[in-house]
């Protein structure tokens, strides 16, 4: 295999890991309470701006920026849950869609108002530049994001399957009245789910900011990818999002290189629709 082709595949895998990273929060919220969070892309954007502020104000890289972004967004997640989600969950589906969509616009244009429309970036070498392995160029920032994606997926998976907190959360997701009878408070569980989901999303944003541009509308560009990743992986499945992210990343890269970049979305989305035709629940979703 030629080095270029290998580079394309490795690039695709790293890209896919990033897709998985910023999709995990979306899939978690869906799995827990059947809500599609249309503000998800803008949570990523907020994470990016936290990393940007940490850099401009404190001169610190993602080592500080990423945990801080996770913390800020987790707090925001809880606020959003109690301030908005808890109420609109009782309403019709349309209210949920419009509610989170309104939140998306509010976040986007608040940032727009505060930071302006200019594109920002973090310094190129903020996570150690790029290194060469056997002729392959690997960006440290993407590698870090990919590694964190694996860790976050693993962590969320273990949390949901191996801990009592996870069992409680899943119990609420399954039947919140029954869970309440067992002494579990659905409100706290769902607030925790929002905190974790938003925190993971903020973390993703801070890491993506190390190699992507930062602008208030960046959530529009990234949000779509998250939705596709989550529906391919199966709504609610965290490992599914990882596999789907990697798959989309590699297919995008390969089709972009072999067929042409302008056709890559066509290839990805037609495969995506074809796949959903046979398996509407996605790769690892429950029927």
């Amino acid at each position: 295999m030629s080095t270029v082709l290998l580079q394309v595949i490795v690039g695709g895998l790293l890209l896919g890991a990033v897709y998985a990273l910023f999709s995990s929060g979306l899939t978690l919220v869906w799995g827990m309470m059947n809500i599609v969070n249309f503000a998800h892309g803008d949570f990523v954007m907020l994470g990016m701006y936290v990393a940007f502020m940490v850099w401009t104000l404190l001169g610190a890289g993602p080592l500080l920026g990423a945990p801080l972004a996770a913390l800020v967004l987790a707090t925001l997640g809880v606020i959003v849950y109690f301030g908005l989600i808890r109420d609109i969950m009782k309403g019709p589906m349309l209210a949920q869609i419009l509610g989170t969509f309104g939140l998306a616009l509010l976040l986007r244009y608040s940032v727009f108002w505060w930071f302006g429309a200019n594109f920002q970036t973090l310094p190129e070498n903020i996570v150690g530049g790029t290194f060469d392995i056997l002729g392959l160029r690997i960006q440290a920032s993407r590698l870090l994001a990919g590694a964190v994606a694996l860790l976050v997926t693993l962590g969320l998976h273990l949390l949901l399957t191996r801990t009592s907190l996870g069992s409680k959360m899943l119990a609420v997701a399954e039947d919140s009245t029954a869970a309440q009878l067992m002494g579990i408070r659905p409100d706290s569980m769902q607030a925790i789910a929002w905190a974790i989901a938003a925190g993971a999303t903020g973390l993703a944003g801070a890491l993506i900011a190390t190699f992507f541009y930062i602008v208030p509308t960046v959530g529009e560009t990234l949000g779509i990818v998250a939705f596709v990743t989550v529906s391919l992986g199966g709504f609610g499945s965290v490992p599914g999002a990882l596999v789907a992210g990697l798959l989309i990343g590699v297919i995008e890269s390969l089709s972009g290189y072999l067929i042409g970049a302008v056709y890559k979305d066509m290839v990805v989305y037609s495969l995506f629709l074809g796949f959903l035709w046979f398996r509407p629940q996605g790769l690892m979703g429950k029927t």
């Binding site: 200019n118 594109f119 160029r137 541009y213 509308t217 560009t221 972009g256 290189y257 302008v262």
Partner: protein
């Protein structure tokens, strides 16, 4: 109770009477003293950076027109406050947001014409949106003056109300070819040209014009890399270029994609010997701030040059910087120029009647010293295209500021080869 009700009704009635009289008084004086112009730009969405700068440019132009600025010398509409041809009337611009969508651009144009009752329109940045917005103005018989959209077909539609001040894609394609021919004479390799462009109206039309212009001169484009606008990743495109090793890469991209290309080229350690950028993304001030330092040596097209200190262009650039916080760039300057051309015509028409403005626009004949841009003048042909538009090549030599490098007559510095990158 009854008394309170009556009192309440009386109050409400008197308030509404006062309100109506205030409103109508406002209207009457507005009609007497202001000229209302519509301006459509991407004030939100992914091109908002360009739109916000455009708005600042138009606001500076409004300040220049509405206040006396004798220091600007021969510059039209600067000397006295307001439009002399309309008894010192002030200009008032209603801004509308196209949100980066051709459909929204069209709706906003309709709103500006039917509800805001503007007498003329300028905008709309993206060629694809100028296309739809100007079609509405054409239908309603409202002059539409564009200062910045370069897609060829805009002036090929037989429109009677559309006027374009900027040089177009074919002018620039010719400039690129002449520039490359000159560079070849100095020993630079220019045979193998690659073209990278997005799939918008702007990207595809500029790419096809460049391809056919080069073909006419007997040079085929060796590699055409088309990609979908607002990309999340451009690694495969950069790898394609890296493998094919073109001598020259021409980039036709809006700011977000341009930034991503610059970052990806560095990550994959790819430096083409020469990059020529087709304005737009590469002229955006935030592109230079974000990735200028890793794009050193990129060539770009421009019609803007700041000029000597104290000259009208330098003074206007200073005013612009004060308003926007950023240096004047080619795109903002062309937008401002378009607006001045429109206002000069309205002033000359001495009327806000659209038909009279249209007639004045057709008779426009501005000389180089009356312009902000380095055009040879402004004069429209039957299609509404400025036939005296011209441009030059600039280079981002230090990664911070573009300098004019070609043609020799306008050059501040000699072109530096090869592309340095970072």
């Amino acid at each position: 109770m009854k008394f309170k009700h009556i009192l309440g009704l009386l109050c409400a009635a008197s308030i509404s009477v006062v309100a109506i009289s205030v409103m109508s008084a406002g209207n009457a004086s507005a009609q007497d003293k202001t000229v209302k112009i519509g301006a459509i730009f991407p004030l939100s969405g992914n091109a908002a950076s360009a739109g916000v700068h455009a708005k600042a440019a138009i606001e500076v132009a409004m300040d220049i027109i509405n206040n006396a600025n004798p220091e600007l010398g021969n510059f039209p509409l600067a000397k006295n406050a307001g439009l002399a041809g309309l008894g010192g009337a002030k200009v008032d611009v209603v801004f509308a947001d196209n949100q980066g969508s051709p459909a929204t651009g069209q709706n906003q144009t309709l709103r500006l014409i039917t509800e805001e009752k503007v007498v003329a329109i300028t905008g709309a940045y993206q060629s694809g949106i100028t296309l739809t917005a100007s079609a509405i103005a054409e239908k309603y018989g409202i002059p539409f003056v564009n200062g910045e959209s370069v897609a060829a077909n805009l002036t090929e539609r037989g429109f009677k109300w559309f006027f374009r001040v900027t040089p177009v894609a074919s002018d620039f394609a010719k400039i690129y070819h002449d520039f490359l021919t000159d560079m070849k004479a100095t020993g630079v390799k220019t045979d193998n040209v690659a073209l990278v462009h997005d799939n918008t109206e702007y990207g595809t039309s500029v790419a096809s014009v460049i391809t056919s212009a080069f073909k006419e001169k007997g040079q085929a484009i060796a590699l055409d890399v088309a990609y979908a606008v607002n990309a999340t990743d451009v690694q495969s495109q950069v790898l394609q270029l890296k493998e094919k090793k073109p001598d020259v890469v021409i980039m036709v991209a809006y700011a977000p994609d341009a930034i991503l290309y610059a970052k990806t080229m560095q990550a994959l350690d790819y430096k083409p010997p020469m990059i020529i950028a087709d304005d737009s993304g590469y002229s955006d001030p935030s592109f230079i701030k974000a990735v200028g330092k890793i794009s050193q040596g990129a060539f770009n097209r421009s019609s803007w040059s700041v000029g000597a200190p104290g000259s009208p262009t330098a003074l206007i650039a200073e005013m612009y910087k004060k308003k926007s916080g950023d240096e004047m760039d080619d795109t903002a300057a062309r937008q401002m120029q378009g607006f001045f051309v429109l206002m000069e015509a309205i002033d000359r028409a001495g009327s806000t009647d659209p038909a009279k403005i249209q007639a004045a626009l057709k008779a426009t004949d501005l000389k180089p010293d009356q312009l902000l841009m380095g055009y040879k003048g402004v004069k429209f042909d039957d299609k509404g295209q400025n036939v005296l538009a011209a441009g030059l090549m600039i280079q981002l030599q230090d990664g911070e500021n573009y300098v004019a490098v070609w043609p020799k007559a306008n050059a501040e510095k000699a072109p530096v080869m090869p592309y340095k990158g970072w």
